[in-house]
């Protein structure tokens, strides 16, 4: 399955992978929510670079716009709205027992993935090797996604709009507060 990749490609793939991993570790070990959010943005950016390298240019753009842009801004907005940016008064990590439990869960998930990585996929699921490159040549980066999205997954796409509507209504109702709710 693995084709031969040029050294340039491999080097940058590993580079962005290492940056993503290091930023994620820095993110998880921060105590201040603002610092954690900024490290997470760094992780999202490197993952966007990886998406572009994996022939998913549109997904890479969406990653930067939606995750690194919109969602993280909402997080920082809430942190600053509630004035939670001081690391001293919150975000103390849990005790030894929880850290031990977290390590155990991590090891368990890792071993599970090792087992999954050894299984073989059934032949019917495998499409021709250069299928994606052909699609990219034929319809460009956006068309590759738009074709299945608006043909095969149209119902799911429409239902997503209902989900977003419910989420907007729920967020407004929840965050509206007491004074407005009393009316």
């Amino acid at each position: 399955m693995d084709q031969h990749y040029p050294l340039f490609y491999v080097f940058h793939f590993y580079l962005f992978g290492v940056i993503a991993l290091a930023s994620a570790i820095a993110f998880v070990t921060r105590k201040s929510p603002v610092a954690a959010a900024l490290w997470l943005v760094n992780t999202m950016f490197s993952l966007a670079a990886l998406f572009v390298m994996l022939d998913a240019q549109f997904i890479g753009v969406m990653q930067v716009l939606v995750y690194a842009g919109a969602i993280m801004v909402v997080f920082l907005f809430v942190v600053m709205l509630l004035n939670l940016g001081h690391p001293s008064e919150l975000a103390d990590a849990r005790g030894k027992g929880w850290k031990f439990a977290a390590a155990l869960v991590g090891l368990g998930l890792l071993s599970e993935i090792m087992v999954i990585a050894r299984t073989k996929l059934p032949e019917q699921l495998i499409v021709p090797r250069d299928f994606n490159e052909q699609q990219l040549q034929k319809l460009n980066a956006v068309g590759t996604i738009a074709q299945p999205l608006f043909k095969d997954y149209l119902l799911a796409f429409e239902l997503t709009s209902v989900l977003l509507l419910v989420a907007i209504a729920g967020a407004v109702v929840l965050a509206r507060g007491r004074a407005a709710g009393a009316r």
Partner: protein, 97 residues
């Protein structure tokens, strides 16, 4: 590059899980959930390179769901903060048996 992508996904997902278990700040826990969702997106994209573009469509759906989840979750955090003046999960134990 499939194997490397899957290994990176596994590492990022596990980092997210450990963050959820270790931290007590509700907002950081939410960010860890976002990290897990993004890690799964990397799996979708890596597989879509070999198994067709349907995986990228699912990434779009995952992004939508995570955006909705962030909006609702942060609204809940704001509502809890109004009641309790804290987002420390140690102090939010109303439903604990």
């Amino acid at each position: 590059m499939l194997a490397e992508s899957l290994a990176l996904t596994a590492a990022l997902f596990i980092i997210g899980v450990m963050g959820v278990l270790i931290h007590r700040n509700a907002i950081i826990i939410f960010m860890c959930v976002e990290l897990m969702l993004t890690a799964v997106n990397l799996t979708f994209v890596a597989f879509s390179r070999f198994y067709g573009p349907a995986g990228q469509v699912f990434v779009i759906f995952v992004m939508t769901v995570s955006a909705a989840e962030a909006a609702v979750g942060l609204a809940i955090i704001i509502a809890i903060y109004r009641h309790r003046q804290t987002v420390n999960l140690k102090d939010i134990n109303l439903l604990k048996g």
